[in-house]
Amino acid sequence: MNSLVLLLLGLALFFIAYVSYGAFLAKSWGIDPSRKTPANALRDDIDYCPANPNVLLGHHFSSIAGAGPITGPILASVFGWLPVYLWIVIGSIFVGGVHDWGSLFASIRHEGKSIGEIIRVNLGQKGKMLFNIFAWLTLVLVVAAFTDICAGTFAFDPAKGDLTGARAGTASVLFIFLAMGFGYFVYRKGARLSVSSVIGVALLFFCIFLGYSFPVLKLSKLAWNVILIIYIFAASTLPVWLLLQPRDYLCSFLLYAMLIGGVIGVFLVRPEIVISASNGFTIGEGSKAQYLFPMLFVTVACGAISGFHSLVGSGTTSKQINNEKDSKLIGYGGMLIEGVVAILALISVAAFKDAAGTPAIIFSSGIATFMNSFGLPIEVGKVFVILAFSAFALTSLDTATRIGRYVFQEFFDKPDGTTEKTNGLNMYVATAVTVAASCLLLLYGYSKIWPIFGSANQLLAGLSLLALTVWFANTGKDYMMTMIPMIFMFAVTLSALVILVKNFFAAGNIILGVLAVVLFVLAVYLIYTAAHTMKEKKSKNLSA
């Protein structure tokens, strides 16, 4: 099988789905272009403000895109390329796309409230506390996983002598200072954004050149772990305009350059897929056994469906939609573009028999080889792609740390919304506790943590689909398009957690085993509470 076929087929299926299934969903849900959106009805030019749909697609995609769509397909390729490809394509079209768009649409019809807020409002006070515990544990997992991924990618091994990680690490550190300088000149010195952007992008590539030519940061994985822990602590507590905002802005140029370069490269190289189409239902034995169902569906999360999309993405996007019909492009289209990134990641691992290393290394090697077809030296391409990958991983990291800190602080809120005077409220203490908990998990390695993160993330997706299904049912709309994915996601999540509990205890990983048990109990309770509360509300509505 040629990878170009996979890419073209994926693009074609996504296009057909966007036009046909997208139109079907729009009709079923009653998307109404003449209806006023919250951005217009509640316009305050601060939170609620109509935006150009193309610009909004860019913002929405940047906020949902992370390292997930790259890491998931590469880790899941042990099952063979075919099941991963099918899940990416089918998942993006029928599960993830419906979930993202449905969440955005529900948010628009609920005055811009995010789907997470709608779920939490329906859970009651006890349920809200449990939801916060669940969210905090998930975020601690995310921080641990992405810290380890980045550290492993930047690490230099003197025995192997491969400088790729050191080059990318050096370029990444330079990039952080560049972003701060960019922010300083644009915000503090009032430099024009257009001119600064051109200079910023040029300097971004200069950072890659410097990192490539002078890889001075030849550090071990442990050293990088320590550096990254210090970095996320600082990034999570520094003013957002000083580092995060300019870095995210410059990052978006990296993402688009990488996507375009990767697609053009696959078109020019047309590499053959060399790994097996399928490796059967079971990989490994005993406590290390992995089953296609449910592990494939929790490992490939962001590339097919991700609960965090509805929480992070729909919160702000829905307040800026100018017209309900734009929600299709942004909600559904955004998820399908993420599916394209996941297909590229799969091709980057499937086209090379000897692909080895961290997902970032595998992905960068693959894409760099493809980009070499139009003259970009492979080693430079590798540094470029790793820089892009790590930039997104760092964005996921500091966003997760910030949310984790916030959720932890909220544990100390009184039921009436006021706060108790405890150390837990202190921003630095809350950040330190969140980061310290992640450090404990770091000791176990991210590959063991990843399936738990995937399960927790997919449970959020299941809860969002549950909220959507109940809402559609209550309003007399067809709810099968959300109910079927919801049942599937709950089945995936719960069975994955059961298998993980069994495997962790069998392997003697008591901490991860207990964590998986806690998540399982929370998952069952949250599903029960959400379903029960929503059913009660429906009964009240009917009797009223």
């Binding site: 409230k113 997470g116 915000y187 503090r188 009032g190 957002v240 995060l244």
Partner: protein, 164 residues
Amino acid sequence: MDMISYIGNLCERYSIYYNMSRDVIILNESIDIMAKFKDVHGRTFLGPKDVIDSYEINEICYVKHIENINVISLSDFTDFLKKAVENYVEPKRDHMCTYITGVAVTQSNINDELIHIIKRFKYSKSYLFSLHGWSEIRLLIINPGKEQIITNKPGKKVIKFYSF
């Protein structure tokens, strides 16, 4: 355009986005228009109350009618603006910046010496190495009769708002 019409126009423009007061005494100085604007940006997690990070940008505008503009009256006005920075800027964690915009409206001639002083005027303060933000004075001297606007460098960013 005469001064009264121009100040009336400014009031209309301010009233759209600013909280505005007319004819107030601030720091023992008589001010024709005071207008305040506060813009808060932030990211939320689940709901609008779950703010995970935010920053605010403030602007306080003082419009003063100065009959005869000269070096002394200009100096008095800039001293007032500096005092406003000391008294009304509130540096804190989520504070990104506060602009103090001083607009002197006059019907008298703005000579070359004044133009030179205005263009070179610069006043800016950082708080806790900018971690608690910064403040900056934008200075504009406007002669509506001659449709003339002279600004310092930061003031150029808002020149369009004050055009005729």
